[in-house]
Amino acid sequence: MRRISGENRLSGPLDGARDPSSEGLRPPFTPIIELALDSGRMIRTDQLHMGCTYGDHPQTHWPPAVLRDMNYRVMKMRNHPAGSLWPEDLPSVLLDMNRYLLRLDRVLPLYKLTALFVSGPIHEDRDRSSVLVVHWLQDAAHPFLSRENDGLIRALDWDGLALGRPSRE
């Protein structure tokens, strides 16, 4: 089953889902990541995928040419497992890619994270919402968005990168 997160999502605490015998309130609903871009736009994600940057490959003892090739593959996100979660034609961006491209001879951070971010419309008259797949790399498994990547994502040019999802007729 293919689902696009952000559509028809839960919109508040699961009050209605409490046990009728009263087990107490559920914790408040919180998006997996929600933040305000520097532009003031709010974005959020309801699904996130995380894996090792080089998959099952060990990260050491590669000759420089092999490392560069592996790094190129990571940059292209070819055959990324999370790609099957969403339609293939969604726009995507890798945070800090230009810096990684300048240092292809260096081992990349340990983990690769991918999330489909959702926000309000880009064009109020045409869109109901907008979406962008964001990839990022980091050495820590948690928090999901490191401080450095948090700063990078906030600086994103959302309106220039994201896809507006047309309003329903």
Binding site: M1, R2, R3, S5, E7, N8, R9, L10, S11, L14, D15, G16, A17, R18, D19, P20, E23, R26, P27, F29, T30, I32, D46, Q47, L48, H49, M50, G51, C52, T53, Y54, G55, D56, H57, P58, Q59, P81, A82, S84, L85, L110, Y111, A141, H142, P143, F144
Partner: protein
């Protein structure tokens, strides 16, 4: 193997490691069903046996379990925890010297994102009968 996302030593002594993780909402796109207890029960039972997102994420068919499923099944009228974690775990082969490794998908639900594996779920995972559920893959 690169540094795994989660590493656990099972009660049996076997070490397992998560190489991929998906984090999402337990109820996914369901929104308007929670007012009716009967409907909630039906959806909970469906979710407790759902193979999403594993069957979408991985082409290969891995065995799959949901930690504490029995516990949740006994309280089917109660809301499940908010977040569903799905991880692909790997370990050494079930058959020694087979040149393979064993693998399976483990799902768990919890109300917090940190730690990724809550103490109660870690305890349940440690008790997992890996040899009973996992399969060898090349």
């Amino acid at each position: 193997m690169p540094k795994p996302l989660i590493q656990v030593q099972l009660v049996s002594g076997r070490r397992i490691a998560a190489v991929q993780l998906h984090v999402g909402f337990t109820y996914g796109t369901y929104t308007k069903v929670f007012q009716e207890v009967q409907r909630l029960k039906e959806i909970n039972l469906e979710l407790l046996f759902s193979e999403y997102p594993a069957k979408v994420l991985w082409e290969r068919k891995f065995p799959s379990v949901l930690l504490r499923r029995d516990e949740y099944s006994r309280q089917a009228a109660a809301a499940l925890p908010v977040y569903k974690m799905t991880a692909l775990f790997e370990s050494g082969p079930l058959e020694e010297n087979s040149g393979k490794h064993s693998a399976m998908v483990v799902n768990w639900v919890q109300d917090e994102m940190n730690p990724i594996l809550s103490p109660r779920n870690r305890q349940a995972l440690r008790a997992l009968a890996w040899e009973e559920h996992a399969k060898d893959f090349r």
